[in-house]
Amino acid sequence: MAFPGALPLAASATTNLFAAREQMAFTLAFHIVLACLGVALPATILVAHYIGLKKNDHDAIELAQRWAKAMAVTFAVGAVTGTVLSFEFGLLWPHFMERFGAAFGIAFGIEGLFFFLEAIFLAIYIYGWKRLPPWLHFWSGVPMFVTGIGGAFSVVAANSWMNQPQGFTLDAAGKVTEVEPLKVIFNPATPYEVPHMILAAYMVVGFLVASIYAVGMLKGRRDRLHRLGLLIPLTIACIATPIQLFVGDTAARAVAEDQPAKFAAMECIQKTGGHQTEYIGGICTSSGVKLAIPIPDLDSLLVGFSPNTKVTGLNEIPNDERPPVNTFIHLAFDTMVGIGSGLLLLGLWLAYSWWKKRDIPHTPWFLKAVSVSGIGAILALWSGWIVTEVGRQPWIVNGYMKTSEAVTNANGIWGAFIFTLLLYAAIGTIAILVLRRMSKRWREGGEGTAEDEPAPYGPEATA
């Protein structure tokens, strides 16, 4: 025992690891929904705004105005939860940042730039209603669309790098000595992770906004505003969904190739070989998958378009490098794919009805399906991130640094986590209450009410 202090330090790091991971997972799950709104809501708003200006459609303008005001609230909350994440890098994972900040951090510089621009143009756009000439005002909102995508690109590129780290040289002590920023940003996982997340954001936002209007229509509010409020976001989401399934399929193949341990956990593959069975649902055990629906050869077929395709199993991964909670990862993956497929069917239903009679399906079952699609898309989003993040464990930087080496040994992590849970629960509740009240005021006030609705970033009420 060269270091007498090493033992208690290690003990505290172990208990901290679980608390820190839970805290990170919880705050990320909370933030990612708000981040989706920041990424994909601008396009949704601008489509409504464009229709409104082009066709002199008051309902569309009204929708754009309402969504922009709602976005101001979610953006302000998202800025807060995003800042919390920046602090958490240092507070929870100081040794990760210490060793890899020089490489990992670069993408966040670019993200900061996009976030900054989005904040500025959101303020200009919200401030500009009725104050800027109509088309100039429309164009003042377009940078939000670009910066939303740019911001998502940079953050997800940073995450991709954690999965497929490259572009740095380590010295004997494990310190980063050389960095190639472009290789860091454009790592092998970037081409599939980034579009997968951006499309996910468009699906979450499209289905979520549409679901709000579907609920309204089910309550008998069948005016044109509700129809348009359902159709614009739902169309965007239904266009994104088939592309997403294609991108996701490509991503899964790339993961099988580049991150075999994660893929084996996703599909519960125990032994390397060809003719792998695809298991739907079930419980993963070392002696095979229980209670699942097995489809022989399908997994090999999906990975390499041939039943003979060899897929790596967990038996080839050293014991201490296997992802934990295999069943959880597997079910998360199935949940994501299952919900995605369900949403694809919903889109086909809408497309068929539109092709036949230029209208949405008239059965209330369609509206019921749309009204749960938003929550469904969020569940799929969370499931996908569980697969990516839990599936990479025990690594924080795949193959280079374990999460247990990265965690802080500060005291009080559990207390901070419980406090965070309570605080975020309060913020989440208030945010939903505030948005519901805004919508109630607009509904009761009729058209034009949203114009005077005070919002963060916006001008003061004139009253």
């Binding site: 240092g90 210490e98 020089a102 200009i124 605080l423």
Partner: protein, 332 residues
């Protein structure tokens, strides 16, 4: 090259201190504006000048964090493993403040508005105070290069606590001066006088804290004190001259020089701190050059910073211009 990265870091800190500081100060005056009736007008004035530039001001903090962890990962880790207590308290303030800002306009009823407003205002004091203790602890040389300094004794000391109080007073002073400017522009005589008094009071208190801080620095952080009084002396003098000059302009009712002088007084102190602890990032355990990331990373930061200057600054000026000018206040 590492020095250039440190200059970028301090530039971010300067912008955050001026604009973010004025934001915090707005919250400070909101808190002490009295009951709902008495405080209505000043609160309105504060909100009107805060609202449109809110997020843009806040982003400077994110900028500082990102540059710190990318360009100086060792220092980032050392600071966060040592000063996590004040950092958690500061981030708690940021969460409450941001949420208060997000919700205060949308909530109904006096009671709720008051709760949201009070959260916003109270956290406007908590955040700069604990950030000040972090800066104070760094300047005092209490953060070891390898990190894991004591969780409490590193910042629960006179100097960090004085610096914390100085941050609060400086924020209040900056905000009051900015609000005097806004009121003079809007020809609102009542609010002008109201904030003039407060600018004088806060300026005096900030000045006293600065002197007390110097004394504490003398006894605690020898290295930084010594260099502040030598290499940093011109900047200390500039700050003092601007501070006094600002008081003169305030008294004579001038408008043009008011804000630049108030801002310069603060800028000079920040750069005085930089010069005083040069070449150290964490005096006296970690030099800037030792803490710096590889050159390619620093270059990437320069590129990002360059693009930011080209894209963000014009957009930011446009926003300040739109918010400050009357252009947006008339219907088209």
């Amino acid at each position: 090259m590492s020095t250039a990265a440190a200059v970028i870091l301090w530039t971010g800190a300067t912008f955050y201190a001026i604009f973010g500081g004025a934001d915090f100060g707005g919250g400070f005056w909101d808190l002490f504006a009295g009951n709902a009736e008495k405080g209505e007008r000043p609160r309105m004035t504060i909100q009107r000048s805060l609202t449109p530039v809110w997020e843009a001001n806040h982003v400077w903090l994110v900028f500082i964090l990102v540059v710190l962890w990318t360009a100086f990962p060792d220092a980032f880790s050392a600071i966060f493993t040592t000063l996590y207590v004040p950092l958690v308290l500061a981030v708690l303030g940021i969460v409450l403040r941001g949420s208060g800002f997000a919700f205060r306009k949308s909530v109904e009823g006096l009671q709720e508005r008051r709760a949201a407003g009070a959260t916003f205002a109270l956290s406007s004091i908590v955040t700069p105070f604990f950030m000040g203790t972090v800066v104070g602890a760094i300047a005092a040389g209490n953060v070891p290069a390898e990190g894991h300094g004591d969780a409490f004794s590193t910042w629960l000391q006179p100097l960090p606590l004085f610096i914390g109080a100085m941050f609060v007073a400086t924020s209040a002073y900056l905000a009051a001066v900015f609000l005097v400017g806004d009121s003079r522009r809007a020809e609102d005589r009542e609010m002008e006088v109201y904030f003039e008094k407060r600018a004088l009071g806060a300026g005096a208190v900030a000045g006293i804290f600065a002197v007390v801080g110097l004394v504490a620095l003398h006894s605690e952080g020898h290295y930084v004190y010594h260099h502040l009084m030598h290499e940093g002396l011109p900047l200390v003098i500039i700050s003092a001259v601007c501070g006094v000059g600002m008081l003169v302009v305030l008294a004579t009712g001038g408008r043009l020089l008011l804000r630049p002088l108030a801002a310069l007084a603060v800028v000079a102190v920040i750069w005085g701190w930089f010069v005083a602890q040069f070449p150290y990032l964490l005096p006296t355990s970690l030099k800037i050059s030792e803490a710096a990331a590889p050159d390619a990373t620093l270059s990437a930061i320069f590129v990002v910073f360059g693009i930011a200057c080209v894209l963000v600054l014009p957009a930011l000026f446009l926003l300040y211009f739109l918010a400050q000018s009357d252009y947006l206040e008339h219907d088209h």
